[in-house]
């Protein structure tokens, strides 16, 4: 039920930006992006089940520049959401709540997700790119 227009306690407008809140926001954003990314999964599987012409269209999109950019974005989103998801599961188990550890695991998530994405794309380009 909407109350009168009174200020709500901590909200983004007056809150000092910090790593932990950024990571939390990115976790949600990557989750939403990955839901959009499932469209490619559905399309790929349906096309593969349908036949070579349909699959060729999927491959054409993936090999295009916009397609490669989307794939790159989704690959990082998956790596990030996976790493930070493990961090969340550790919290759920009661581990890592103190501030130094929350920051250490937070930076680890950033670095490891970037390294994983780099490794994935090293594999892609080592075998001739997305084509």
């Amino acid at each position: 039920m909407p109350q009168a227009a009174r200020p709500l306690s901590p909200h983004l407008g007056i809150y000092k930006w910090q790593l932990t809140m950024m990571l939390s926001i990115i976790h949600r954003a990557t989750g939403i992006a990955l839901v959009a990314g499932t469209l490619l999964l559905v399309w790929t599987l349906l096309a593969l089940a349908q036949g070579p012409e349909a699959y060729a269209r999927v491959q054409m999109l993936c090999a295009s520049i916009p397609g490669t950019v989307l794939l790159f974005g989704w690959s990082w989103a998956l790596c990030y959401h996976l790493c930070n998801g493990i961090r969340h599961l550790a919290w759920d188990a009661g581990w890592g709540f103190d501030i130094p550890r929350a920051y250490l695991t937070g930076w680890s998530v950033v670095v490891v997700s970037l390294l994983m994405t780099a490794a994935i794309w090293a594999c892609v380009f080592a075998r001739g790119g997305t084509a």
């Binding site: 999964l41 599987l45 036949g51 070579p52």
Partner: protein
């Protein structure tokens, strides 16, 4: 005026949680746990498919092992996606009809998308 005579607890009763929040929380964690190995495997699959032609791709997915893992990924991923999107919509969409429409749209999308994937997997595994 009569509503103002109600105590806060009286007004809150029956409008609060639907008493299945714990179940939501637990399923989200179980699917998350399942998705750790499954999503690593899906990256491997995507890399394999990326450099395969149609026949090679079908051969990869014809393998029963691939079909089982992929079906497991699809179920866990869409279940997890639906639970996550539900929370996002609950948090940010405050217009009631929009909220309900968005919740239904997400549920229908996840169900149909998962069904489409599973039928495609079955067709490739059994052909």
């Amino acid at each position: 005026m009569s509503a103002d005579l109600q105590t806060p607890i009286k007004r809150a009763r029956g409008l609060g949680s639907a008493k299945d929040g714990t179940h939501h929380f637990i399923i989200q964690r179980i699917t998350a746990l399942a998705l750790i190995p499954l999503s690593i495997w899906i990256v491997w699959l995507a890399l394999a498919l990326m450099h395969a032609d149609f026949a090679q791709a079908r051969a990869i997915l014809h393998h029963p092992f691939a079909a089982v893992w992929l079906a497991a990924f699809v179920i866990a991923a869409f279940w997890h996606a639906q639970l996550g999107m539900q929370v996002v919509i609950e948090d940010y969409v405050h217009t009631r009809w929009l909220e309900i429409s968005a919740q239904l749209a997400v549920k229908f999308f996840c169900f149909i998308a998962a069904l489409a994937c599973l039928l495609a997997i079955a067709r490739m595994a059994l052909s």
